[in-house]
């Protein structure tokens, strides 16, 4: 059976399972549609939260980000897990006690103002819609790769699947489907990791393997030391090197943490459990299931980095990096274990070109001087070949010869790395980096193939990537649809809408949200990663502070909350747009997005905590000048602070 058929069978079976569950658990009331009737056991809610939380970015991209970013990209590991501590301690129990369905509903009641509720709806929609775009792109790319269809077709198939189970199932259907999706995605992630860890470190637990010894040379050298040695040999920065900017690393981690705690689609998960104490423990269970993937991810990233580097420099496996010649093109085309290189070349995620014509692919970190000299030479050659037939060719030929000599001189004097006694590029016969593209995502998607694992593991990774993207998309769509039908339609436009009418409105707004997300996923505004940075920054600067103040302050009133949210929203969005372009339209940025141009070295992704501080400061300042909340709100605050009497959600 070929790989394609195997992929179809495994992915098809997983989808049949999701549809079956969605049909069995379909929602009949708004309480079931919004919050699964508060009847989900904490362990199961934890598993569903984990699937909801771990998106295509976590599953497909994060290990690659860590593989190439090393220690500096630990921000994702700490940031996307530490937020659960904040959720468990600061938000989940109190919001569950409040006992209603949506985040804007809490903001509206606590700050006794429909305006506050609507501002919260706007924040929620901006956050969730930007986030869902990334998921739809992930769905399209994964379908396209594993089912051999175009990205557009992949996107359309994915939306149809989400539509089928999310619109009918509501929160109840989505929750139980996510439990199944979690099982699929965690199996798909850990099985290749265990195999690879056994290969490289002799330890079947990747978490121990990556701090253990390097097995192919007997285990005397640690795995991380071996990885550092190989990548620095090729001129890359060490994997474990310190961060160049501690302040920025600190702020990005903080932004991801408080952003996580402020993401509406994560918060609403804690409305589904029966009791306040369940909300606390449910955050713990969610983190257990998330940690299963997140503690494995640095092992997957670092081991895949060593595997792919050693594939192109076979000498690095058990000796010195340059002890054997680089991987040859004839080897790529003849060795059955290396078929993946040509396969992934077709997708554009991997690209190579034999610049020096020696039949081998040299993978190095190309020094900037070499890149510049090569470009000057290419420009001179282009001028010569494009010259008119009757033009004077002599000066052009002289220019080529001069550029050639200059380039060769650079190669003669440039060492391959920064170590003492490093060979020059010329002595190794290298003219530049020949592995021109290695996409981050390949570290997970091609991982089983790089490690020569069986075909069913590859098919499982396809099903896992789709499960991760679909489960997150469904959770986001639910948050969007409940904000529209419950907060906008029932809360502001048509308060006397019937239960049936609201359920219909919820389904229609979800269908509309899917169509919008599909359209935006087809033509995404800028990079998905940039868009996600905006979602976290805004969640950190708007939703998290307003919920914190709603619970922990008895003094902050509606004026303070509204002013705070608006200041947080605008400052954060403007700071991001200044560097990434207005509404991510390329070319409209005011400043270049480089560390030198950043305000105090703070990158756009790190601005969330600053926005949050501005939000808090504004809210307290305005509250000091305006009236304290009325008595019934004081009573509400006292009531959410104690667990007793949570009971079922009020249908009100």
């Amino acid at each position: 059976m070929d790989q394609f058929t195997l992929n179809l069978i495994v992915v098809g079976l997983s989808f049949a399972l999701y549809f079956g569950i969605a049909f069995w658990a379909r929602a009949g009331s708004t309480a079931e549609f919004y919050a699964a009737s508060q009847g989900v056991p904490p362990v199961m809610n934890g598993m569903a939260t984990a699937a909801d939380w771990m998106s295509a970015a976590s599953f497909i991209s994060m290990a690659g980000l860590i593989a190439f970013g090393g220690y500096n990209n630990s921000v994702f590991l700490m940031g996307w897990t530490g937020g659960y501590v904040l959720l468990a301690l600061l938000l989940a129990p109190y919001l569950r006690k409040f006992g209603k369905f949506t985040v804007p509903e809490f903001v509206g009641d606590r700050f006794y103002s429909t305006t506050a509720r609507l501002v919260a709806v706007v924040c929620l929609l901006v956050i969730s819609i930007t986030y869902v775009i990334g998921q739809m792109v992930g769905v399209g790319v994964t379908f396209a790769r594993f089912l051999e269809v175009s990205t557009t077709a992949g996107l359309l198939i994915g939306s149809a699947v989400v539509f089928a189970y999310a619109v009918f199932g509501g929160m109840k259907g989505i929750t139980y489907t996510q439990v199944a999706q979690y099982v699929v995605l965690i199996t798909a992630y850990t099985i290749p990791a265990i195999f690879i860890s056994l290969n490289l470190t002799g330890n079947f637990l990747p978490q121990l393997g990556f701090i253990g010894g390097y097995a192919p040379t007997g285990g005397d050298v640690t795995f991380l030391a071996k990885l550092d040695q190989v990548v620095t040999d090729l001129g890359f920065g060490a994997y474990t090197a310190d961060t160049p900017n501690m302040l920025n690393m600190f702020l990005v981690t903080m932004s991801l943490m408080i952003g996580t705690a402020g993401l509406p689609h994560v918060i609403i998960r804690f409305f589904t459990v029966p009791k306040v104490s369940d909300a606390r423990i449910s955050a713990g269970w969610a983190l257990v299931f998330i940690a299963l993937l997140y503690t494995v991810a640095p092992a997957v990233g670092s081991m895949a980095r060593l595997n792919i580097t050693a594939t192109f420099w076979p000498g690095a496996v058990d000796g010195d990096t340059f002890s054997k010649p680089a991987l040859s093109i004839s080897e790529i085309d003849s060795n059955p274990d290396l078929v993946w290189i040509r396969n992934w070349e077709k997708t554009g995620l991997l690209a190579f070109t034999d610049k020096n014509g020696d039949g081998m692919i040299q993978y190095i970190n190309e020094p900037a001087a070499v890149t510049a000299a090569n470009k000057a030479l290419a420009d001179a050659q282009k001028a010569l070949t494009e010259a008119a037939a009757d033009a004077d060719r002599a000066p052009l030929e002289a220019a080529v010869a001069e550029a050639q000599a200059a380039r060769d001189a650079v190669l003669e004097t440039t060492p391959i790395n920064k170590k003492d006694g490093a060979p020059t590029l010329a002595s190794l016969g290298i003219v530049g980096n020949e592995l021109t593209t290695v996409n981050n995502d390949i570290m997970v998607l091609a991982n089983p193939e790089i490690a020569a694992l069986p075909g069913w593991v590859i098919a499982l990774v396809a099903a896992g990537g789709l499960a991760a993207a679909l489960s997150t998309a469904a959770g986001l769509l639910l948050a969007i649809s409940s904000a529209i039908s419950h907060d906008l339609i029932k809360g502001a436009i048509k308060p006397d809408i019937s239960e049936k009418g609201e359920l219909l409105a919820a389904r229609i707004s979800m269908a509309f949200a899917i169509v919008l997300a599909t359209w935006l996923g087809y033509d995404p505004p800028g990079f998905a990663a940039q868009v996600v940075a905006l979602a976290f920054g805004l969640a950190a600067a708007t939703i998290f502070p307003v919920l914190m103040m709603g619970i922990f302050s008895t003094r902050v009133g509606k004026e303070g909350a509204i002013a705070g949210m608006i200041v947080g929203l605008i400052t954060t969005a403007v700071y991001i747009f200044l560097y990434l372009g207005w509404f991510f339209i390329p070319g409209t940025n005011v400043y270049p997005n480089t560390p030198d141009a950043h305000w105090f070295g703070i990158s756009p992704a790190a601005f969330g905590p600053i926005g949050a501080i501005l939000n808090f400061a504004t809210a307290y300042l305005v509250s000091a000048m305006t009236k304290a909340p009325p008595q019934e709100v004081q009573d509400l605050i006292q009531s959410i602070r104690v667990p007793r009497g949570a009971g079922k959600a009020q249908a009100h």
């Binding site: 630990s74 590991l77 468990a88 253990g212 640690t222 474990t240 423990i281 007793r644």
Partner: protein
């Protein structure tokens, strides 16, 4: 809620648990994982220096323990103040 002073005592106990937990949360991730890494680079856990390990694995384990301990301690405080469900 029986009376206001017992409500205040419950809330004060709750805040104390939260503050202690947040100090641990901050110390393992931002402290050991980021700010103190250069100073502690001599201490190793397996093949990784302690700061690197806390940044990539260790703080996640601490977060996990923290939430479960918090949930257990809070259940005890709920019962002690008679506000459990």
């Amino acid at each position: 809620m029986a009376d206001k002073s017992s409500a205040n005592a419950y809330w004060a106990a709750n805040i104390k648990v939260i503050v202690i937990s947040l100090i641990i949360w901050f110390a393992c991730s931002f402290g050991l994982g980021i700010l103190l890494r250069p100073a502690l680079s001599g201490i190793h856990i397996g093949g990784a220096d302690i700061g690197f390990w806390f940044a990539q694995n260790g703080s996640i384990y601490v977060f996990l323990i923290l939430i479960f301990v918090y949930a257990k301690v809070m259940n005890g405080i709920d019962r002690a103040h008679g506000v459990e469900e």
